[in-house]
C-alpha cells in the first residue's frame, strides 16, 4: 500500500498522510478524554447515589427523631397532668396531635394492658393481646427514657379503625384517680408519612429506595404490593451479606449500584438502588459529543490537507508543465517563482540549470564547430599539396642530378610518412609511431632544406608505447623548421625532439636553436596572430579539446637563443585507447 502510495499522486499522499496523522492524534486524545470522562461520570453518579441515600436516611432519621420528641412531649404532659383521665389532658394532647396529621393515635395503657387513655376511643383488643404486642413488650423491657420503635403493622386495636402504622412506645408514670401508676404510652404514626418521605427520594428514572427491618424484611418498597404478589422480586440476601456500605450488583441484565445506610433512631436500613446504565447517560452524551468532534476534526483535517496539497502540488504541476515544454525543445520559457520557499528554490534551481544548459549548449555548438575545423586542418595537414608538390619536385630534381640514393631515401620517407598519416583511419597512435612520422618528415625536410639543420629524436622507452593524437608533433616541427631554422646555413640549425613521462603526464617537446621569439610574439603565436601560429594554436586547442584545459602547449622562447615547445597530455596506455 505504501509502495503504491509512494508511486502515486503527491497530493493524494499529502492528503492521506496528514489526514491519517490528525485522525490518529485526535483518536488518541479523544479516547483519553472519553476514558477520563467515563470515570468521572461514573464516580459522579455513584457519589450522587451515595448522597441521595444519605440524605434520605438523614431525613427519615430526622423525622423519627422528631416523632420521638413528640412522644417525649406527650409523656411529659401525661406525667404532669393531675389526672390522666381528666378532660384537660385530653384537650392538650388533641391540640398537639392536630398539628401533626401523621399521628394516627395516642394511647396510654396500664402495665396490665388496659386502656387508660386514648385519642381513638375504646380499644377492641383484650388487655392480654395488647400486652403481647411487640411495641408493648419492647417499651416494658427498655429503660424509662427510651422510646422504642415498632415495625410497620396494621393497627386494629380499635373498633372500625385500621391504620398502617409504626408505634413509638415508652414507659410513662401518671396519676389516675389520685393514684400514681405506671404504664406504656404509645403513639401511632402513619406509615404513609414515611412512604411519602421515601417516595421523594429520586435515583434516576428507574432507581429506587427501599427500607428493611432489623430482620432484613421489606417494610417499604415502591413495588411492595407487587413483590408480595410474587410479580416482582427484591433480593434482600445481598443486603444481609453487605450490611453497611455499598456494592455493585451485576447479576441482572443491568448493573446496579446499591448503597446501604442505617436510619438513625431505628434499626431500619435504607437501601438505595441506582442503575449505572441510566446514570451513565451523561457519559453517552459525552461519547457522542467526542465522536462528533472526532469526525468533525478528521473532516476539517481533510479539508486543510486538500488545500495544503493543492498549494504544494499546484506550483509543482506548473513546474512539471514547464519542464515538459523544455523537454520539447523550448528553452526560452519563463519560470515563475511561486509557492512555498522550497518550491521557489526548486524553480530557481531549475532556472539556473536551464541557463547553464543554454550556455553548455552554446559551448558545445562552438566546440563542435572547432572540432570540425580542426579535423579539416588535420586533414589538410595530412595532405598538404604544397608539401607533396615540393617533395615530389625535390625527388625529380634529385633524379635529374643523379642523386638516386637521396631520391630513394626521400621517396621511402614520403611513403612511410603517408602510411603513418593514414594509420588505417585511426586518430590515436603510439608515441613511437608519431616519432617515426616526425622522423620521416624530418628526413624529407632536411633534404629539401639542404641540410641546414640537424635533428635528434629521443624518447624514454616507457614513453614509446603510450598513445597520443596522430600528427600532433608534425606542426610543431614544421613551425620550428620554417620559422626558426630556415635562415641558418648548413648544419647550423639544431632540432631536438623528445618524448618522456613525468608522472601521469606524457611530455613531447621540440627544441630548436633558431631565431627565437619575444614574449609578445609568443603571445601572438598562441593567439594565431602571427603566420605559422595557426599550426601551434591548432595543436594547443586540439589537445585541450580532447584532454581538457589542464593540458596543451607551452612555448618557452628567447630571441636569438631558440624556442622550446612542450606538449603535455595525460598518459594513455594501449588498453585505455578510446
Amino acid at each position: 500500500m505504501f509502495g503504491r502510495l509512494r508511486r502515486g499522486s503527491l497530493q493524494l499522499a499529502i492528503i492521506l498522510s496528514s489526514t491519517l496523522l490528525v485522525a490518529a492524534i485526535l483518536l488518541v486524545v479523544m479516547l483519553g478524554l472519553a476514558a477520563q470522562g467515563n470515570k468521572t461520570v461514573r464516580d459522579d453518579a455513584m457519589s450522587r447515589i451515595r448522597q441521595t441515600v444519605t440524605q434520605g436516611s438523614a431525613a427519615l432519621g430526622s423525622y423519627m427523631s422528631g416523632a420521638m420528641e413528640t412522644v417525649a412531649l406527650f409523656k411529659s404532659l401525661a406525667q404532669e397532668a393531675a389526672d390522666v383521665e381528666s378532660g384537660d389532658l385530653a384537650e392538650r394532647l388533641q391540640i398537639v396531635r392536630r398539628q401533626r396529621a401523621d399521628i394516627a393515635g395516642l394511647s396510654v395503657f396500664s402495665k396490665g394492658g388496659e386502656l387508660v387513655f386514648s385519642t381513638a376511643g375504646q380499644a377492641l383488643k383484650a388487655p392480654a393481646e395488647i400486652r403481647a404486642s411487640d411495641w408493648f413488650v419492647r417499651a416494658g423491657l427498655a429503660r424509662p427514657s427510651t422510646v422504642s420503635v415498632s415495625q410497620p403493622y396494621l393497627q386494629d386495636a380499635f373498633h372500625g379503625q385500621y391504620a398502617w402504622v409504626v408505634t413509638l412506645s415508652t414507659r410513662v408514670k401518671y396519676v389516675r384517680m389520685g393514684r400514681a401508676e405506671s404504664g406504656i404510652l404509645a403513639m401511632d404514626i402513619r406509615f404513609r408519612a414515611i412512604e411519602e418521605l421515601l417516595g421523594k427520594v429520586q435515583l434516576g428514572a428507574s432507581g429506587y429506595v427501599y427500607l428493611l427491618g432489623p430482620e432484613y424484611q421489606l417494610i417499604y418498597h415502591n413495588q411492595l404490593p407487587l413483590i408480595q404478589l410474587g410479580l416482582k422480586g427484591e433480593d434482600t440476601d445481598l443486603i444481609r451479606k453487605n450490611v453497611m456500605g455499598e456494592f455493585f450488583d451485576t447479576r441482572g441484565e443491568r448493573e446496579r449500584f446499591v448503597v446501604v445506610q442505617t436510619v438513625d433512631s431505628t434499626r431500619w436500613r435504607l437501601v438505595g438502588v441506582g442503575y449505572m446504565d441510566e446514570l451513565a447517560s451523561a457519559n453517552r452524551r459525552t461519547i457522542r459529543m467526542i465522536a462528533l468532534l472526532l469526525i468533525s476534526g478528521i473532516l476539517m483535517a481533510l479539508a486543510v490537507a486538500i488545500l495544503m496539497g493543492r498549494l504544494i502540488v499546484r506550483p509543482l504541476g506548473r513546474l512539471t508543465r514547464i519542464m515538459s515544454t523544455v523537454e520539447g525543445g523550448d528553452l526560452d520559457v519563463e519560470i515563475p517563482a511561486q509557492g512555498f520557499t522550497e518550491i521557489r528554490d526548486l524553480a530557481s534551481a531549475f532556472k539556473r540549470m536551464l541557463d547553464r544548459i543554454k550556455i553548455l549548449m552554446r559551448e558545445n555548438e562552438l566546440e563542435q564547430e572547432q572540432k570540425r575545423r580542426y579535423e579539416l586542418d588535420a586533414l589538410q595537414a595530412q595532405i598538404n599539396p604544397h608539401f607533396l608538390y615540393n617533395t615530389l619536385d625535390s625527388i625529380v630534381w634529385m633524379q635529374e642530378r643523379g642523386q638516386n640514393q637521396d631520391a630513394i631515401q626521400m621517396v621511402t620517407a614520403l611513403a612511410r610518412l603517408f602510411r603513418i598519416s593514414i594509420s588505417k583511419g585511426r586518430s590515436v597512435i603510439t608515441v613511437a609511431e608519431e616519432l617515426e612520422h616526425v622522423r620521416n618528415y624530418l628526413i624529407i625536410q632536411s633534404i629539401r632544406f639542404k641540410n641546414k639543420f640537424t635533428y635528434t629524436i629521443a624518447a624514454q622507452p616507457e614513453a614509446l608505447h603510450l598513445r597520443t593524437v596522430k600528427l600532433i608533433l608534425q606542426p610543431l616541427v614544421e613551425n620550428a623548421i620554417v620559422h626558426g631554422l630556415s635562415h641558418f646555413m648548413t648544419d647550423e640549425g639544431r632540432l631536438a625532439i623528445e618524448a618522456r613521462v613525468e608522472g601521469d603526464v606524457l611530455v613531447l617537446s621540440v627544441r630548436d636553436n633558431g631565431l627565437g621569439m619575444s614574449p609578445e610574439e609568443v603571445e601572438a603565436v598562441m593567439a594565431r596572430r602571427l603566420g605559422g601560429g595557426i599550426g601551434l594554436s591548432n595543436v594547443h586547442e586540439r589537445i585541450q579539446l580532447i584532454f581538457g584545459s589542464g593540458y596543451g602547449l607551452t612555448i618557452e622562447s628567447e630571441q636569438d637563443v631558440g624556442t622550446l615547445v612542450t606538449l603535455r597530455q595525460p598518459v594513455i596506455r594501449e588498453e585505455e585507447t578510446p
Partner: protein
Amino acid sequence: MKCSLWIALAAALISVGLAVWGLWPAWEPARQAPQRVVALVLDTDIGVNSAVIRQGAQMAARECGAALNVEALSGDQSPDVQINLVLEQLEDGASGILLVPADADLVGRVSSLCAQHGALLTLLDCCEAHRGTAPYVGTNHVSSGAQAADKLLRDTGAKRLLVLWQDGGIARDRLHGVKLAALRAGAQAIEGDVPAADGEPASASVRKFLRENPDVRAVLCLDGALTECAAREIDALGLKGRLTLAGFDCDQTHIKCLEDGSAAFTVLREPLAVGYEGFRCLMERMTRGVTPPVRYVDAKVIPREDILKPENVRLVFPLIQ
C-alpha cells in the same frame, strides 16, 4: 483540481456542522417513541376491586412509560354508557383498551369499535359469559369457586354444602366451580339462590335455606355482602358453632365476620395483579404482537387467623393507609 476544492469545502462545512451539533447539548436526538395511551374502562367507580385494579394498571403504566386514562361507570349509569366511554377514549387516541365489562353484550360492540380504530382490547376480571373471544386477564372464577369449596369441605368434612348466591355473572362461575369441587369430593352442593345481597329479603331467604337444610355443616356465600347476612341469620338461629361459614372478597362486612369469628376464611381476588398484569399483557401485544389469549391471576384463600399477616394485610386491606 476543482473537484478537490469542492470536497474540501464540503468537508469543512460538514465538520463545522458536526462540531456545532456535538457541542450543542440541547440537540439531543429524539429517541423516545411517541407515548402509548391506554384506557382503563371500569364497570363501576365504587368498590375496592375497581380502585385496586386501577392502582395496578397505574403501576404498570409507570413502569412501561405509557399513559393511562381511567374511566368508570357511575353507580346509576346504564352499561351502554361504557360504549360511549370507550369510544371517547378511542377518539382521543387510545391505542389499547382495558375493559371490565358491565354487561355481556358490550364485549362484542367494544371489540368492533376497537377494530375500527386499530386499537387492541383486553378484558379484565369478568365472568366467562362476558368474555367473548377477546383476550382476558383476571381471576378464574370457576377455579376460585372450586378452591373455596375444596377448603370448606376438607376443613369441615361435610358431605352437604349450602351455597348461598345471588344470581350474577361471577357468582355463576363460582357456583360452577363449587359444584365441580363438590362432585370431586363426593359431596352435595345445595344451591341457595338469594334475591338480594342484603336487607330483609336476603335475610328471609337465607333463613329459609338454613331451616330447610338443618343437617348442613358448611355454608359458602359466593358474594361478600351475603356473608354478613348469613352470619347474622346463623347466629339468630342459634347455629353458630355448628356451622362453618366462608365467603368471598374483602368488603368491610366480610372482614367484620372474619374478625369476630363468624366466618372461617375468605377467598380473595388479586385486583392489583389483575390491573398490573392486564396492562403489561396489553402493552406486550401492542409492542410484540403476541401474548396468550387468557392469563389467569390466582385467587388466594385466607383463613381468619391469617388476615393480619404482613403478606396478607395489603390484600385484605388494599386501600388502608
